[in-house]
């Protein structure tokens, strides 16, 4: 327990009568990174604000270095950023950039509101990450709106911070952003959280209905759609004539539908080895909708497109 930087026990938060999440339990040591993933409105931002000491939990407890977050801020050296929309538009970029480290990080003199969204996001990130002696980095959708170079810079900076002993807590609705950075994942779904270690999500080998069932059971979600994609990687070419295997798993009262896409799947043969596995829930907008014909397949499967949640693992 001495190495634990942050721990949460049965953490819950609510806005008035509306419960955001409950029963979250996790801990983080220095140099570890936690990815918080979940669909829009799952409570990721709220959880980060609780960790940053800006909100109080309605139940449970959270401690950083053994004290409540608001008391630990100066001691731990927190870098928190919730997104470009939290930057005051009237402030000049160079002035804002100097607020965290006390030195200029950009010569840009334009006001923040006149910058592009990606530039604002980068400015906010560079500002908080320029703080010396950062022990805890808490970022909400940090890759949002960043271009390739900025994304690469962010990933390298976060890895460098982690290597120097900082703990990272990163939230994203797109788990692909967090791949390779996080040691732990907290899946926030339907007001509950499930903690998964990264290696648990690196399954290589057959994905069987039994494994899918175990995953679904751990996630404890209703209306979860599991979409297993056949590898579309190099060498396999574009999958044509996909066979949609529609399988319904009975998990109590929850209706769970499993979609299996594979080029050579045979009806009834549920033992397959995809290199990529996507878990989607709610009304889904599949990433592969862009493929010709995919939208029709999803429509045929009875989905309305509005939001998506996916998790990928495997080779």
């Amino acid at each position: 327990m001495t190495d634990v930087l942050l721990w949460a026990r049965d953490l819950g938060a609510r806005y008035g009568p509306r419960e955001v999440f409950q029963g979250l339990t996790f801990e983080l040591t220095a140099g570890q990174s936690l990815g918080i993933i979940g669909p829009n409105g799952a409570g990721k931002t709220t959880l980060l604000r609780v960790i940053a000491g800006l909100l109080s939990p309605c139940e449970g407890s959270l401690r950083i270095h053994g004290v409540p977050p608001e008391q630990a801020l100066a001691r731990v050296g927190m870098a928190y950023f919730a997104g470009d929309f939290t930057l005051p538009g009237a402030v000049r970029a160079c002035e804002w950039g100097s607020l965290a480290a006390g030195r200029t990080i950009t010569p840009e003199r334009r006001r923040i509101r006149t910058l592009s969204r990606g530039t604002r996001q980068l400015l906010g990130l560079r500002t908080v990450l320029s703080r010396p002696h950062t022990g805890l980095v808490v970022l909400d959708e940090p890759w949002e709106a960043l271009d390739v170079d900025a994304s690469r810079w962010l990933s390298k900076t976060l890895e460098a911070k982690r290597d120097r002993g900082a703990a990272l807590i990163l939230a994203s609705h797109d788990p692909q952003d967090l791949a390779g950075i996080c040691d732990l994942y907290l899946l926030l779904v339907n007001r509950r959280g499930t903690l998964l270690k990264a290696h648990e999500l690196s399954t290589v080998g057959p994905v069987t209905p039994a494994l899918l069932g175990a995953i679904l059971e751990r996630l404890q979600v209703d209306a979860l759609f599991v979409h297993v994609l056949q590898a579309l990687g190099e060498g396999l070419g574009v999958v044509r004539g996909r066979l949609l295997l529609h399988q319904r798993l009975g998990l109590g009262d929850h209706a769970v539908r499993v979609y299996v896409d594979r080029a050579d799947a045979l009806a009834g043969d549920a033992d397959f080895a995809p290199s990529r596995l996507c878990v989607r829930m709610g009304k889904e907008r599949a990433a592969d909708e862009k493929r010709p014909g995919a939208r029709d397949e999803l429509s045929a499967a009875g989905h309305a497109s509005s939001s998506r949640f996916s998790y990928e693992w495997g080779g």
Binding site: L54, L73, A74, Y80, A82, P88, A90, S98, T127
Partner: protein, 207 residues
């Protein structure tokens, strides 16, 4: 250190817009011209300063905080009480400096004979307006707070009893009402201060 950092933060974020500071500068300059020719005109010179303070001091805390504008400050580590103190200081300082400047100009212009700017009534008026306006601004917008003052002063029976503008230049306060107004302003400031120290900072986008 935390207080100084918080002051700098509020300066950079410009919780008091530059044009309001410009308004005070103009008021002081106009007062200097007026007092040079008529050292007894301090009441007229101070009235715009007190009026301006009604709109400047409520610089706002909860609304910008809920938009995340103060996230960097609130998570950097200064104790919340220092942040609250710095916010109150940054919000009220331009008006207070303008008031003191005009008071000193009056003393200089009258060779120490007149001190309307430092009279008890003026001090109570400036303190009441500054404290009450700042406190209102912590919870509401600048416009709401300013309009509240204007409404208060436009209702004649209320204005006669509690208008801070009528207190300017009064050397002796015969009724306890001004002190009650000041007490109410200080209590409101205490509530606002406590809110900043203990209150939550929800994000509009996350509710």
């Amino acid at each position: 250190m935390g207080f100084v950092y918080a002051l700098r933060y509020f300066y950079v974020v410009a919780i008091v817009p530059r044009f309001f500071v410009g308004g005070f500068v103009i008021a002081v300059a106009a007062a200097a011209v007026r007092l040079t020719s008529d050292p007894t005109a301090a009441t007229d010179a101070l009235t715009p300063v007190v009026l301006l303070q009604m709109f400047v001091a409520p610089s706002g805390f909860q609304l910008p905080a809920r938009r995340g504008y103060y996230d960097l400050l609130l998570t950097t580590g200064p104790p919340r009480w220092q942040i609250a103190l710095a916010h109150a200081t940054a919000s009220t300082a331009p008006g207070v400096v303008a008031w003191l400047s005009i008071s000193l100009l009056e003393l200089a212009a009258s060779h120490g004979a007149n001190s309307t700017g430092l009279a008890a009534g003026t001090c109570v008026a400036v303190a009441s307006v500054s404290a009450m306006s700042w406190a209102c601004g912590v919870f509401a917008s600048r416009a709401a707070s300013g309009v509240g003052w204007l409404l208060l002063m436009s209702i004649r029976p209320v204005a006669r009893l509690a208008s801070p503008l009528l207190l300017i230049g009064m050397t002796s306060l015969t009724t306890p009402l001004p002190f009650l107004v000041l007490l109410a302003a200080l209590i409101a400031s205490g509530v606002a201060f406590t809110h900043i120290v203990l209150g939550e900072t929800r994000l509009e986008a996350a509710q």
